[in-house]
């Protein structure tokens, strides 16, 4: 069983469109959406939710007004500025370290467990799909990503599937690290812009840091051929194979608006190229 993760560094380069197409092309796989704080893959896969689970993670401090003597100890030790001058807790700032509750001389601070989100196991016409929804303004996206990856891996092993295909989040921070770690291959989707090149470079460095082999595709490559050339040159210097170049194709947006992946929607140049990409991956 192989785990393939689609990442990009820069947002909006086409990760989910490519992942949605891979869902239609790959057989015997489980799909996973690890962009848990702005998940979109469900808009292409139309899941029928079979299992729904609460994701409990982290804590938030609560000050019991009746016991609080307003001595100020908690305010002076909190490094996150989470305790307001009126001795109530600002939940978005509280990181749940519990130091305040441990030092409060009155024992007036208790810690409450957060329900930080939900995760789901679903059926789709392209097979099983594991996805999640991080609660609004919640933390611990990395832990939720780790959780759904573990569920997907178990599901793949139990059913003897060949692939786990993961739609990753943008950036290089904790949810990206959690999406990458232990994957067999990272597919970077970038675009021919200065930002696309800059950000792909950083995410490549991240993958190298975790010893994950990388392949790259340039989406909308014909919008700037010079920049596409620069990306190819950059990849050559890093020994990263460029396994696809997708043209700027208006069919992609049309398919998206109808909630369809580009393989099933219509014969199109972008779909043909992703077909080639999948041959290069599998």
């Amino acid at each position: 069983m192989k785990q393939i993760v689609v990442i990009s560094g820069k947002g909006g380069t086409g990760k989910t469109v490519v992942t949605g197409a891979l869902a239609a092309l790959a057989k015997n796989k489980v799909m996973v959406d690890c962009d848990v704080d702005a998940a979109d893959l469900h808009l292409l896969l139309h899941p029928e939710i079979k299992e729904r689970h609460e994701f409990r993670s982290g804590q938030t401090a609560v000050i019991v007004k009746r016991l609080c003597k307003k001595c100020g100890e908690c305010r002076s030790i909190c490094r996150f500025g989470a305790i307001k001058p009126d001795f109530s807790v600002e939940p978005f700032s509280c990181e749940g370290c519990a130091l305040c509750s441990q030092i409060c001389p009155q024992g007036a601070i208790r810690m409450e467990e957060n329900v930080a989100g939900e995760w789901f196991i679903s059926d789709t016409r392209h097979g099983p799909f594991v996805h999640a929804k991080l609660g609004i303004a919640e933390e611990n996206s990395g832990k939720l990503v780790a959780k759904i990856r573990q569920i997907a891996k178990e599901l793949a092993e139990k059913s003897g599937l060949d692939y786990v295909i993961i739609d990753g989040p943008p950036g290089i921070g904790c949810p990206v690290i959690a999406s990458l770690s232990g994957a067999d291959c990272a597919l970077i989707v970038t675009e021919p812009t200065l930002s696309g090149l800059h950000d792909a470079g950083r995410v490549m460095e991240l993958a190298a840091h975790f010893n994950i082999p990388v392949k790259l595709i340039v989406n909308k490559y014909d919008l700037n051929l010079l920049m596409t050339g620069k990306i190819e040159e950059f990849c050559r210097s890093r020994n990263v194979p460029v396994i696809g170049k997708i043209v700027f194709d208006k069919t992609v947006v049309k398919a998206l608006v109808e909630g369809k992946n580009i393989i099933d929607y219509a014969e199109c140049a972008a779909g043909d190229e992703v077909r080639r990409v999948w041959e290069g991956l599998s």
């Binding site: 808009l43 991080l134 933390e139 921070g173 200065l194 930002s195 950000d199 950083r202």
Partner: protein, 289 residues
Amino acid sequence: MIISIASGKGGTGKTTVAVNLALSLKNVQFLDCDVEEPNAHLFLKPCIKDEVRAYIPVPEVDEVKCSHCGKCREACAYHAIAVLPGNSVNKGSVLIFPYLCHGCGACSLLCPQKAIKEVNKEIGVVEIGEKEHLQFVHGRLNVGEAMSPPLIRQVKKLINPTRTVIIDAPPGTSCPVITAVKGSDFCVLVTEPTPFGLNDLILAVEVLRKLQIPFGVVVNRSDIGDGKVEDYCRNEHIPILMNISFSREIAVSYSEGVPIVERDVSYQDKFINLYINICGIKNEADSCH
């Protein structure tokens, strides 16, 4: 006034709006808080004058003083400390996992032996510079570091309240975005008229409502896709501050790292108009309170 530019979905045009708005106004300070993938410098090409390393405090244990009592392990909410108790043969030891540490200071403060001191671990760099009259600050997270919020907080410490502050936020709806937009007087949400754009816009709107920050929407590539973002905004009484039509000129200029207002000055008026719209809505929101 502090104006942050956020989006939910990545790649909708946050940096394009932030950079062009900044270049169309006077007396601006620009903060790029997308420290995982900072891009604004590619467009503004500021002259960097100063560089400050950013650190978070992580514990270091003095094995001589340590009694391996395990109090630090209990105190750490992030499981960043493991303690192997000693026995008649081995002395015992403490293992620290710095990448899990949030730097809360609980372990060092609560250690009965005073055996833990905090040492600085570098997580990235804050660079400060200028482009003509515009002040520029951005953070750059070291590759492999998981936590961006401490670095974003360092960037925001340099906010200059005498200027119009424009914050380019990271995508998403979780901690890095909240750290970036918190304390803003107004937030501009940039979206695109596709199902992905709409889905992520709705999430971003929920975040801003929770944070009680007034906001409005910029629809980028407004003539592709469908009309559902517009319908949603109308139903939710969310002001649309600006529509930017898809143009190859903007796309090419973006790809080359050239702000569109520098290639076509007529765009300046559009971004000044965006600022006027922001001020109007902000004043309206203020007079309601």
